[in-house]
């Protein structure tokens, strides 16, 4: 009698558990789908997904809430597993009811500026909603963290680990979104007018953060309305003697150059240093103090043109997404003299500006374009206000070289040493292999950087060839700076197999070794570098590279962790 009762209860719980498991799996899949739809701005389909998710999550929760289940939770061995399944079901259900509906109501695409204006009132309202979502997500995260995972059977343990990862990602996202939506209104002049410098990085003449800051434009923001002020070239800012004061590490690596020339402020890859120097140079020359510096490059423009379609430029070739980098960074130097170049650039600027306001821009494409540009570090922003800078200081957009690594990160930064516009012809590649574990706890990394030049042997204009400091004007000289992981070291470097002389220094807890690499037209050079990590058994490695006109070819060969 007792036996059959137990069997019956066990059978019932087993059946309900199987039901709950099926619902849970469905719900997890739906949650992933939903997240993609939210970011993609596909509201209609997202609404349908949400309805299905709520149903599945609710069903999973109900299946784990009946008396039989409650009873079984108190049994010694199976109890823990059943407890965990119930907690997971509750967590997904909470998310489906509290977090996702608000995230869906917050239609991100409607926040894209129209007529050069962002709706600050709407943004403030969104900020409050996002804060509520963030609260719900953080609560779920805490509840799940309290579930003891080590004694669960593997299937449920895996489900719990997956869910925790998913919710960690979501929590990071909502926290950042709250910060972002709080930060935007003051940045756009909700509490008093703001002024920023927008600089364009010229990728034809490489600098560590991308390219030389060729030109600037003053941007004024007030109450969400953005206007463009005066424009000028970096050259018009002149040079500064005595030089501006530099961080000692930067000065040891690059002499006083970043403090003398606006074209050299970004010899260091740490964008905050470069931006602060440029702002100070601008202040000394014009008397205007700006609140921050924003840097973009022509590749960003090519992404933007994807959203608008080709733009006609009076008296020039039309600008199209596929060709814009070539048109702006190469052909214009080839076809036009300096004065014509200025006129052409001004005309294309006006044309693109018009296109954005008169054409019907696809906002979803626009958002994905920004996402890509920021991932590739082609959009960088620095705020002169320390409290604002702190709030987004660790995002990719800040361009901050971190003083600590989560994954050992090797930096490869390129600076042009020829004084020419030949960077457009460079085809860079980098691959890093995680090597031996060493008795001192460090790990060896082997880096191979190759630079290939597709420059012609003749026929380029003086504008492109510039100062030709490598001797032969068609040879491009690049200063390749290899940054060790934080706390690590650079052991040695071989250029095409032979030991090469290296400048050596430190930048933000990373050892920096700089080699001068001359690449003739059509030639390729390879720099092989042995690097040590800090004490770390990690089997992964990451690369941080100068964004270039032609994208890098990269490879990372990981290895098992040394602790295994």
């Amino acid at each position: 009698m007792v036996g059959s009762l137990l069997l019956l209860t066990g059978g019932w719980v087993g059946f309900r558990g199987w039901q709950a498991r099926a619902h849970l799996l469905n719900a997890a899949g739906l949650a992933r789908e939903l997240s993609a739809q939210v970011v993609g701005g596909d509201t209609e389909r997202a609404m349908r997904t949400l309805a299905a998710l709520q149903e599945q999550a609710g069903a999973a929760r109900t299946a784990t809430a009946d008396p039989g289940w409650q009873l079984a939770r108190r049994t010694p061995i199976a109890g823990d597993d059943l407890d965990a399944v119930r907690l997971i079901a509750v967590a997904i259900d909470e998310l489906a009811r509290q977090a996702f509906p608000t995230l869906l109501r917050t239609d991100l695409t409607s926040l894209v500026p129209t007529e050069g204006r962002l709706d600050l009132a709407r943004l403030t309202a969104v900020s409050a909603e996002l804060a509520r979502v963030d609260g719900a997500v953080q609560r779920t995260r805490r509840d799940l963290a309290a579930v003891p995972a080590d004694r669960l059977v593997s299937q449920i343990r895996q489900a719990l680990t997956d869910l925790r990862d998913e919710i960690d990602r979501l929590a990071g996202l909502t926290t950042a979104a709250v910060q972002g939506s709080r930060l935007l209104p003051p940045l756009l002049g909700a509490r008093g007018a703001r002024r920023y410098l927008l600089v364009s990085q010229n990728l034809a003449e490489l600098r560590a953060t991308g390219g030389m800051f060729g030109a600037y434009a003053l941007i004024e923001a007030e109450k969400g309305q953005v206007r463009m002020g005066g424009q000028g070239s970096s050259a018009s800012l002149g040079r500064f003697t005595p030089p501006l004061k530099l961080p000692p590490e930067t000065r040891a690596l690059w002499t006083d150059l970043p403090g003398i020339y606006p074209a050299d402020v970004n010899l260091t890859p740490h964008f905050p240093t470069a931006a602060a120097l440029y702002r100070e140079m601008f202040r000394r020359k014009t008397g205007t103090t700006v609140d921050g510096v924003l840097a973009v490059d022509p590749v960003v423009l090519s992404y933007l043109l994807k959203a608008t379609g080709p733009v006609m430029v009076p008296g020039g070739v039309p600008l199209a997404s596929e060709k814009v980098v070539q048109t702006l960074l190469n052909e214009s130097y080839q076809r036009l003299n300096t004065k014509q170049q200025d006129e052409y650039f001004a005309a294309s600027a006006a044309a693109v500006f018009d296109a954005f306001f008169k054409k019907n821009v696809n906002s979803r494409v626009l958002l994905s374009v920004f996402d890509r540009a920021i991932t590739e570090r082609r959009i960088l922003f620095w705020s002169a206000r320390p409290e604002e800078q702190r709030t987004f200081g660790d995002s990719r957009m800040a361009g901050t070289l971190p003083e600590k690594d989560t994954v050992p990160t090797v930096g490869v930064f390129l600076n042009d040493g020829s004084g020419a516009k030949l960077g457009y012809y460079l085809r860079p590649a980098a691959n890093v292999t995680v090597g031996d574990c060493r008795p001192d706890g460090r790990r060896e990394l082997r880096l191979r950087v190759t630079l290939r030049s597709t420059a012609p042997k003749s026929g380029l204009t003086e504008s492109v060839l510039g100062l030709g400091l490598a001797g032969d004007p068609y040879t491009v000289r690049t200063l390749v700076s290899v940054y060790s992981p934080a706390g690590g070291a650079v052991l040695d470097a071989r250029l095409d197999g032979t030991e090469t002389a290296l400048g050596s220094g430190t930048d933000r807890r990373r050892q920096v070794a700089t080699a001068s690499v001359d690449v003739g037209p059509g030639a390729e050079r390879a720099l092989e570098v042995t690097i040590l990590t800090a004490k770390s058994g990690a089997g992964q490695a990451e690369l941080w590279l100068t964004p270039t006109a032609s994208p890098w070819t990269t490879q990372v060969h990981s290895a098992p962790s040394c602790d295994q």
Binding site: R227, F353, F381
Partner: protein, 209 residues
């Protein structure tokens, strides 16, 4: 972080929309004029370092080759070496651990002055020199080279790591075999002596018999 990036990007979007990304990129940079008085700043493109090392990091006991360029022809160059501790581990990093799992407190190490805190080199007619140097301490070494006549100065860094460990054998694991071996040798020696003494007594005894 996608959502945050998108939101931050909205601000950027405004600015980018309002502005020419590529305008003015071709501006020629100011070039120093030909006059030499007052002294002119260097041209704007960065140049390869004037003082270089053949290896940026070495192990104690190894030698580094310093190369200087761009100094005055045939001049004496003074090279000063300063030593700082290698960067301390970042906050929050695990302390050093022994193989048995116990932790070791990391105390700052006092740095004794290098055997040669300064030395000299001589340039050739092109203003170039090479000089070998063997550090006697671990740490972060900074070399500053200054030409006596030209006054030109350049610096570079060298990291000196603890001597390379040929075999990962620690003192503790070496101790036991040493003691065991020593004990065996001592026991052997004792037995040899006893044998000798025994044979001597035998011989003496035999003679007495």
């Amino acid at each position: 972080m996608r959502l945050s990036r998108i939101i931050m990007a909205l601000a950027v979007g405004l600015a980018v929309v309002a502005v020419p990304t590529a305008a003015g990129a071709a501006q020629p940079q100011p070039t120093p004029s030909a006059t030499t008085d007052p002294p002119q700043p260097p041209p704007y493109p960065p140049a390869a370092a004037q003082l270089t090392v053949n290896r940026p990091t070495i192990y104690l006991g190894e030698t580094v080759t310093l190369t200087g360029t761009g100094f005055g022809p045939n001049e004496t160059v003074d090279i000063v070496v300063s030593v700082a501790p290698l960067a301390a581990p970042a906050a929050g990093q695990a302390p050093a651990r022994r193989s048995d799992g116990s932790t070791v407190a990391m105390a700052p190490v006092a740095f004794h002055a290098s055997a040669a805190p300064s030395f000299t080199a001589f340039t050739n007619a092109e203003g170039r020199f090479t000089r070998n140097y063997k550090p006697t301490v671990e740490g972060l070494l900074t070399f500053t080279a200054t030409g006596r006549e030209s006054g030109r100065s350049a610096s570079t860094e060298l990291r000196v790591l603890p001597p390379r460990q040929p075999l990962p054998v620690t003192g503790d694991s070496l101790g036991t075999p040493m003691k065991l071996g020593g004990g065996l040798v001592a026991a052997g020696a004792l037995m040899l002596l006893m044998t000798l003494a025994w044979r001597r007594r035998q011989r003496l005894g035999g003679a007495a018999r």
